[in-house]
Subunit: 448 residues, 2 copies
């Protein structure tokens, strides 16, 4: 964030490394806060990183591995010895450790786990996919009994490791491990020392299952303003918790994916500079080729009207305007609808409301744009051609607007991500159908 | 979130209201958690809301006003008496209360403030724009002296209102009110009772100023994983804090705005269904008309080449394919670059890196797509026309890809939001310039 500190330190670290003064490089890094350490660290060469990382203090090395892109972290981890790696991974949050180990090959991952002290916290997390609630959760949480008093709870917490306490809520489980309630830290602070947690706790708490999508957990936390959400298995036993920092990460990831999809590529799955140029090209190429073949259809349609076009060549001049107007209107609608679906503003149940709204908006926009197009066309074409253009632009915009709402809703209906229907896909469909509308209206108005 | 509970309760509440049994309607609402209460509430008619709101328990009425869209909350607030409104606003978070009062006219806002008990907490917040750090901050925070012991701090906190304690960090200020440090709640819990806050506190803390953009505060919290960020004035005095729930709101708002801009409309500034259809049309119309006029240029360019087109009419058939291919590639790039800028993956300092990357990606994509286009064109046109099409598609894609990176970076350079350069704007520019490229290549290859 503080670009100056990062930039200055990076130069100093590089100089120290050039002079093979690793101790100074380490000291320079230790002078920064962990997120800034990671920023400096990721600018270094892999070989420099490999030398530096095991020399850093363990908690800081762990923080850096957590902050690095998953791909990079795995690349670097493979260069370390299993023993050195195990010491660092022991200091990572269990969910982050599981993500990293999951990205390594099985032999290395097993070797590291065998050398770890806290392998038991990480092992159960390895079975969950990264993007599920189970993949997001951490096994570091506080779970006490109902009969415990506030005094006992506070004393226990004083003997607990720092980072577990960062969760501002503790959970209450029965003897079978089933979740029965939750107590906020501040409620604990204000309560009488002899009160039991059972008296203090909220009994109605929202939970998620490990196999739920991470977005379900995020939306739940957002809706109920929860600092942390417990993850329970089929028996109702508490197996982990998802914390606020995960919420933010999930929401940011999902927004990024949606934006990339709306733009018409597959999600990069990593940061912009963190992804290789080839993976970025792969994410984009499929859609581009598919859409190219589809738009070739537009050419076929035009060739069907070759005679009319040759007769009234001026009709061709308005094709770019017509196609763009439709594509633009559709692109606005689809972006708004996809986002509204993503943040839960609308659901499939609102489909009729949305379609009614976009039909009306489409008619108004079509009317206004149609008149504009008519006036523009009048400048360099006869009245009937201008009329054709105006009517077509109006019709195409109304149609595009409706389609921009129908397609993402339809995607949800068949269980797909609405953002799969990207702007480019929509534009291509509108262009092909828009030409049909154009030539049909031309035939009716101009009698060609 | 839990659609069933909301739906069922909504029907029951409506039935109760139809039978004029307001007591039952209130009881039904009280059975839900506040976020669900708001979901039910916002489905009711304004007149029903006006009757119900003052009958609800005050903290719950306050929660509902906080959860409602700003526009709706103001609409409803205007229907209440200043005295009733003041009682509810007194229970709102000061920053939310200030947002609401700021949306009312001055006379009503003054009348409400005059009747409020906690007007002093809200008044200083009224001067800050909604989207600044000052507009986001709350004045409810804990600020203690350095010399205070842990025991004293804990005792004070036991006498403090619940919701202030939800902030998991307390601040330390000197006698002038200047911020000197911060202590995490969990550090407090673990410390010896006789330790002073001065011994315990972090002295290096990230701060923002009230006039900073809310996004600056959000990115700082995200980068340093802060649960709360203090807002200090020019003298370094602590004037407020921004909490985690605000962070999430800001990030979600910014992502929504970016998606709407990328789609080619002005941000709606409210939820999809929460905004009126007319404001949605207004947000979209300006861009659509501007882009329509711009694409009319494409027609002008084509008319300059009217003779050539009439000679080789088949050239016209490939115009939609050419335009879409360029637009699609540009749209992918711009979405990726805008998002990378928004999340801080890249800054203006990375401009050369980004341009190098997108030039290379553009060349590769142009080569592949150009060959595809050549093959497609061969199906129904002579070899030289197909060559023209292939070369043009290749050139346009390379050009579009570069432009998709240059334009948002340029927007940042001149101090604008990169998302202002939307997909539709880019597409329009590419279409006009793409036609020039096409006809130039046609002239060279076909000699027309």
């Amino acid at each position: 964030m503080d670009a100056d500190i990062v930039e200055t330190t990076l130069q100093d670290v590089r100089q120290a490394l050039d002079e093979r003064d690793i101790t100074r490089a380490v000291r320079l890094l230790h002078g920064l806060l962990p997120p800034d350490q990671a920023d400096v660290f990721e600018e270094l060469e892999l070989d420099e990183q490999r030398v530096l990382l095991p020399r850093l203090r363990l908690p800081e090395a762990a923080d850096i591995l957590e902050e690095l892109e998953d791909e990079y972290a795995a690349l670097l981890a493979r260069r370390l010895s299993p023993a050195a790696l195990a010491r660092i991974v022991d200091q990572m949050e269990p969910d982050e450790a599981a993500d990293l180990l999951g990205d390594l090959d099985a032999a290395l991952s097993t070797a590291v786990l065998a050398r770890m002290e806290e392998a038991d916290e990480v092992r159960p997390l390895l079975v969950h996919p990264d993007e599920s609630a189970g993949g997001r959760m951490t096994t570091e949480f506080l779970a006490f009994r109902e009969s415990m008093t506030v005094r006992q709870a506070l004393l226990t917490m004083r003997r607990t490791e720092d980072h577990i306490l960062e969760v501002p809520r503790l959970f209450v489980a029965d003897t079978e491990g089933r979740l029965v309630g939750a107590v906020d830290l501040y409620a604990l602070l204000r309560a009488d020392a002899s009160t039991t947690l059972g008296d203090l706790m909220d009994r109605e708490i929202a939970t998620v299952h490990p196999e739920d999508d991470q977005e379900v957990a995020a939306r739940l936390m957002l809706h109920y303003d929860l600092p942390v959400v417990p993850v329970v298995d089929a028996e109702g036993c508490l197996v982990g918790v998802i914390t606020g920092d995960d919420l933010v990460e999930v929401l940011e990831e999902e927004a990024t994916e949606d934006i990339q999809r709306i733009g018409g590529s597959e999600p990069l799955g990593a940061s912009y500079l963190g992804s290789s140029i080839w993976s970025a090209i792969r994410a984009r190429l499929g859609w581009l080729v598919l859409l190219l073949v589809t738009t070739a259809l537009a050419g076929t349609i035009m060739s069907l009207y070759e005679e009319q076009l040759q007769e009234v060549i001026i009709l061709a001049f308005f094709i770019p305007m017509l196609m763009d107007a439709g594509g633009n209107a559709g692109s606005q609608t689809i972006a708004n609808v996809i986002r509204a679906l993503a943040v839960g503003d609308i659901t499939l149940g609102d489909a009729l409301k949305v379609l009614a709204r976009e039909s009306r908006a489409g008619l108004v926009l079509g009317l206004v744009l149609g008149i504009c197009a008519y006036v523009i066309a009048l400048v360099w074409s006869p009245g009937l051609v201008a009329l054709t253009v105006g009517l077509s632009v109006g019709a195409v915009i109304t149609w595009a607007n409706l389609l921009g709402a129908v397609l993402p809703l339809f995607a949800v209906r068949i269980g797909q991500d609405p953002a799969l229907v990207s702007g480019p896909l929509l534009t291509t469909i509108i262009d092909v159908t828009g030409l049909l509308i154009y030539f049909t209206i031309a035939r009716l108005v101009l009698g060609i």
